[in-house]
Amino acid sequence: MNLEALYQDIILDHYKNPRGKGLLEHPLASAFHVNPTCGDEITVEVGVDESGGLRIGYEGQGCSISQASASVLVELLQGKSMVESEQARLAFIDLMHSKGVGEPDEDVLGDAVAFAGVAKFPARVKCALLAWMALQDAEIQAGLLTTGEQT
């Protein structure tokens, strides 16, 4: 059993106690993404606060990995600058594509390092990435990110 490697306590905790769940009052943009193999859904909304920091809201339904990943994302990136946020988002995508041999940087990824084990389960990588891809889409729509920066 390598279940524990996948379902780190941090992941289970975020799954059972999601942080920052809920949509924004006045979002700049909203992106709805779905995992076509299992039907999991997420809506990610973005805005900008007075000090220029990112505002993120979300709603969704899905498995522990997809939901915990959304919760970790919001906790990690809420209020961050676009530069910091992009650094973390790209680091998370790299980690997910590392096939389990990546060395996550906790300074950049915070709780998201707990997802390192997911990268060993290719079929679950899509679950972990769902919110992060929706975020990218919402940011592009809001004009916070240009398509050239897509990964």
Partner: protein, 427 residues
């Protein structure tokens, strides 16, 4: 114990003695998605490549004759398995292509009718106001192609709704299949609910209004005796890979008259009679629908699979699966927090059993099972609208076959309980 000697059967499937996830013996319960292959199938394919490989129907040398013989023998074997004539059996790459072939008969004839009215068989020509009927439990392969036909012809898609038990609700069938209906295409046995549908009756309703009757037999032909001429359909589609055959081969059976009436689908070499730059004419079925170099090795492999099933006997296969189904239903019905999606008793249902576990997402259930070596399918099983109908985003599905025994199902049940424990939802 069931009627089959499962231990002996397991020994014929090399993959079933492998381990996964760091040493867990594989328990394969995902045969609804694809079946495993006995060694006789792998040997038959290899033997073809090593002794008979050449382009089928396109040469006169010794190997070309051997390849053509092997391919046409395979067609006879497979047709005969389902009580059909070999000239009525078309090889495709999978059931999805078979169903698209059927659907394209309508969109192609409709397009043709505009420019060559006399070449377009009116049976297949659609116009706004016409309808096509499917069910709410179709696999995407028997839904999306018909949606596309409607988008291209202006016809309307209708569907037979489901009861809460996962059966077809035929209450208003007269207003669903009516004189506007040009095609009725229904799944024989649902891959998600397990329901066995009254297809004979539906085909009669279709024919009563002169509609073409089509059956998706992907989940019935591998699991029970099916005589194609007794289903009452015009066209029947299924896949080889779900019945012990190789990937890359599917079948479409049709009555002589429908195959003659349908326009060709894929066009090119081997399906022609004469070709000039200005105009071509087409061969008779089945060649008419088999453009290009065919999947010859795969046809030979599928024939070996069919002979393997014949040796066991499809009655025995069905009896074995009935026993497994009853056993699984009993076990799941007695588990707290488990809800079966589909018929909860074993009447008119196959061995594919979908369920949801309260408080747990199917992905997580499947992951825990997987960590114990048990392979089940999680997701919408390409029947997304059916999931919606039952208010769930997805399900977990156990789908056993001839190489599974009660012990395999016990492991699955243990795995479900382990998942409840792991996520703490069994309190």
């Amino acid at each position: 114990m069931t009627v089959l000697d499962v231990a002996a059967i397991k020994a014929d499937f090399p993959i079933l003695s492998t381990t996964v996830r760091g040493g867990q013996p594989l328990v394969y319960l995902d045969s609804g998605a694809t079946s495993q292959k006995p060694v006789v199938v792998l040997d038959a394919e290899r033997d073809f490549y090593e002794h008979a490989n050449a382009a089928v129907h396109r040469g006169a040398h010794a190997l070309a004759e051997a390849a053509t013989d092997a391919f046409e023998d395979a067609r006879r074997t497979i047709a005969n398995f389902n009580g059909a004539r070999s000239q009525d059996l078309i090889f495709t790459k999978n059931a999805t292509e078979s169903l698209n072939l059927a659907a394209y008969a309508f969109s192609n004839a409709t397009a043709l009718a505009q420019f060559e009215p006399h070449s377009a068989n009116p049976q297949f020509v659609l116009k706004p106001g016409d309808s096509i009927v499917v069910t709410e439990m179709e696999h995407h392969a028997n839904l999306v192609p018909w949606q596309e036909v409607c988008r291209k012809t202006g016809a309307t898609l209708r569907w037979i709704p489901l009861t809460d038990e996962g059966r077809l609700d035929l209450t208003n069938i007269d207003s669903i299949i009516d004189k506007t209906t040009k095609a009725v295409s229904v799944v024989h046995q649902s891959n998600i609910l397990g329901t066995l549908n009254p297809v004979r009756h539906l085909m009669e309703l279709a024919h009563a209004v002169n509609a073409v009757g089509i059956i998706d037999a992907c989940q019935s032909i591998p699991h029970m005796p099916v005589r194609l001429d007794e289903l009452g359909a015009d066209l029947v589609a299924w896949s080889g890979h779900k019945m012990l055959g190789p990937t890359g081969i599917g079948c479409l059976w049709g009555t002589e008259s429908i195959l003659n009436a349908m326009p060709p689908f894929l066009t090119g070499g081997s399906m022609i009679e004469m070709v000039a730059m200005e105009k071509s004419t087409f061969a008779s079925p089945p060649a008419k629908f088999e453009a290009g170099t065919p999947m010859a090795a795969q046809a030979v492999g599928l024939a070996a699979a069919v002979r393997y099933l014949e040796n066991i006997g499809m009655d025995a296969v069905a009896a074995h699966e009935d026993a497994l189904t009853q056993y699984t239903l009993d076990a799941l019905n007695s588990l707290d927090g488990v809800r079966i999606i589909g018929p909860t008793d074993s009447n008119d249902r196959g061995s594919a059993i979908s369920f949801v576990v309260e408080g747990l997402h199917p992905h997580d259930v499947g992951q825990v099972l997987d960590s114990t070596g048990v392979a089940v399918r999680v997701g919408h099983h390409c029947a997304w609208p059916t999931c919606r109908r039952f208010g769930v985003p997805s399900t977990t599905r156990i789908s056993p076959y001839i190489y599974n025994d009660f012990a395999d199902l016990d492991k699955a049940v243990l795995g479900i309980q382990a998942a409840q424990d792991f996520f703490g939802v069994n309190a």
